[in-house]
């Protein structure tokens, strides 16, 4: 873990090193205090620990209605894939000659599914879905993959209990470099 001093030192070194020369004066401080409503609007990303999952809920049946109206044109009515990604099936194919990397076979976290639908889908009207619709659409895709039951309800609590089949399928390649030597 970074200690407080070490982070501060790293930041100071980074600042001193930028552009290869130390600044004679500090850069100006022209950032404005972020208003709460702007933070609430923009802070929508959901990490795997579920921080920020909103209230609301949805079922696979409710999600099917959304999906058929807004998603099926690109992904097929059961997520089988059309002009755009296949979302369903493919389990056990990651080592096969014909591979299907889908939500069910490949995606490691259900939070990513919620985050992505809410952030970017549907393609022609991103950010238009209500949180209930996002939960429902995610529930439909998870149910098609057999990851939750058709009778289940997805909300902030139940989504965090979803264990994706390929959750352990990723190997982190990032190795934190040793801190740089002090500025000359």
């Amino acid at each position: 873990m970074f200690g407080r001093k070490r982070v501060a030192a790293a930041a100071a070194v980074a600042l001193a090193c930028v552009a290869g020369t130390a600044l004679a004066v500090d850069p100006p401080k022209l950032g404005q205090r972020a208003p709460a409503d702007l933070l609430a609007l923009m802070d929508k990303s959901i990490p795997p620990d579920g921080t920020g999952l909103p209230p609301g809920q949805g079922t696979p049946v409710q999600g099917q209605a959304v999906f058929l109206e807004k998603c099926a044109v690109c992904h097929g009515p059961r997520g089988e894939g059309l002009t755009n990604d296949r979302l369903v099936g493919g389990e056990g194919t990651l080592t096969q000659e014909i591979t299907a990397k889908t939500v069910g076979s490949f995606w490691p976290y259900a939070t990513t599914l919620f985050d992505y639908i809410r952030r970017a889908m549907p393609y022609d009207a991103p950010t238009s879905l209500k949180d209930d619709e996002v939960y429902a659409t995610a529930a439909y895709i998870l149910a098609l993959n057999g990851i939750i039951k058709e009778t289940d309800t997805l909300n902030a609590e139940t989504l965090m209990k979803v264990k994706m089949p390929n959750a352990d399928g990723f190997i982190n390649q990032w190795v934190e470099p040793a801190p740089k030597a002090a500025a000359r």
């Binding site: 982070v7 930041a11 205090r33 972020a34 923009m42 952030r119 190997i171 990032w174």
Partner: protein, 434 residues
């Protein structure tokens, strides 16, 4: 040697330094001013006596007056990005890419209008007066920066490539892609980027000691987002406002983009609107389901950030065919996300023998680097041109066979195998696996 030659060529008598006629990298430079007879050797047409008897039309009348923003010559209308044509009504036309025509370019800078495009839901039309950059999360004080504010910060400039990690992905395929260099390798471009060091903005917000990552998000319709280690943000990351001296182009993130020198293009988030300082990675869609490399055992490599050492010859190359036997300059691009290019070797016999190429100054870290080597092409079969780059960390560009032996054929991203161009007896040049 061409039979048409009546003048001594400055390279005549030069001993090859590797198989199939590769010559010492310094010979063209030594030739210098003596090199004027070269075009006669290849019999290039267009200097006939009839044309020489009078001035051409443009010598005898005034040229056009001044224009506010210049464009290339009308005779260069073929210098275009390579754009995938979609069927009418294709529902997601703004998700995809266009590619830089590397085979048509010289030097190391990509003209801004030819920089490759990769977007996930089109190019937004952002009003810079309304655009905001939010810095929040594990900070003492969440802050909002306008473009007007960022314009008042000290700037830095640096020349760096941006490469999509899916670039050269055709290399994983069973058959070599057909088409010019840009078709397979054109998801890399190189610009002079200018802007504000990201460290200034993070420092101003006050980094919490628990912070080790950030999430960067774009203002496009995809809300494209990627996690980035904080150490990179405090090292050489920049909020780029300018590209090749003018404001960043819309396709490249106007009015501001994240620049992470040497790292996967996708992480260089365009239309940058939010930076959330976090404890760990957010595991967004584009760093889990995409931009991860599936290995033969079914596990996928994640967070493979720097782009590996790589090169390709662009001249000759597919579509840039031979114009008869004689002397040629073999030239191409080399680059590495780890630092400077240290050397490039070239082979004309499919990798059996190699000769070092000259590196054209300037050579910058994490930037396209131009290499050149003279070559006498005598025609005949069995000629396969290859280039092999080595960077300053000692990393060597692998052969395609070695890469596939280590990684299988389903990585999809981070292909950096050696490119092979077969030069046929007819002078036709083809992309081959060799």
């Amino acid at each position: 040697m061409s039979k048409k030659s009546e003048v001594a060529h400055p390279l005549d008598g030069a001993e090859p330094v590797a198989g199939n006629g590769l010559l010492h990298r310094r010979l063209f430079l030594r030739g210098g001013a003596l090199f004027t007879g070269a075009t006669a050797l290849t019999g290039i047409a267009g200097v006939g006596a009839a044309q020489a008897a009078d001035y051409p039309a443009w010598r005898k009348e005034p040229g056009r007056p001044f224009v506010a923003y210049g464009t290339p010559s009308k005779f260069e209308s073929d210098t275009q990005r390579i754009v995938t044509v979609r069927a009418p009504g294709y529902p997601t036309a703004g998700a995809g890419s266009s590619r830089t025509p590397l085979q048509l370019l010289e030097g190391i800078i990509t003209p801004s209008g030819l920089h490759f495009e990769r977007s996930h839901n089109g190019v937004p039309d952002i009003d810079p007066a309304q655009h905001k950059l939010l810095v929040h999360g594990l900070v003492k004080q969440p802050l909002v920066f306008t473009l007007e504010a960022l314009d008042r910060y000290p700037r830095k400039s640096a020349i760096h490539f941006v490469e999509c990690s899916g670039n050269s992905g055709g290399g994983w395929g069973l058959n070599p892609p057909v088409g010019p260099v840009g078709t397979m390798h054109g998801l890399v471009s190189c610009s002079e980027w200018s802007g504000v060091p990201l460290a200034y903005l993070l420092d101003e917000a006050g980094i919490d000691p628990k912070a080790k990552w950030i999430l960067a998000e774009g203002a496009d319709a995809a809300g494209m987002s990627r996690s980035v280690p904080l150490s990179k943000c405090l090292d050489d990351a920049m909020v780029a406002l300018f590209q090749n001296g003018e404001r960043v182009r819309p396709e490249q993130g106007y009015p501001m983009r994240l620049l992470l020198p040497g790292w996967e293009g996708n992480m260089n988030v365009k239309w940058l609107t939010r930076i959330k300082v976090t404890e760990g990675p957010t595991h967004t869609k584009d760093e889990t389901s995409k931009y991860t490399e599936l290995m033969p055992d079914g596990k996928a490599l994640q967070f493979t950030f720097p782009m590996g050492v790589k090169s390709t010859i662009t001249r000759p190359s597919e579509g840039v065919n031979m114009q008869g036997p004689g002397y040629y300059e073999i030239a191409g691009f080399a680059w590495s996300g780890n630092g400077k290019i240290a050397r490039v070797d070239v082979s004309a016999d499919g990798g059996q023998s190699w000769a070092p190429a000259a590196l054209q100054d300037p050579v910058f870290p994490k930037a396209l680097t131009r290499f050149r080597i003279p070559w006498e092409w005598k025609g005949g079969p069995g000629i396969v041109l290859q280039s092999r780059a080595v960077d300053e960390t000692g990393a060597v560009q692998p052969t395609r066979d070695k890469l596939i032996e280590e990684r299988g054929i389903k990585n999809a991203y981070h292909y950096n195998g050696i490119t092979s161009w077969e030069v046929r007896e007819s002078g036709l040049v083809k992309n081959v696996w060799a």
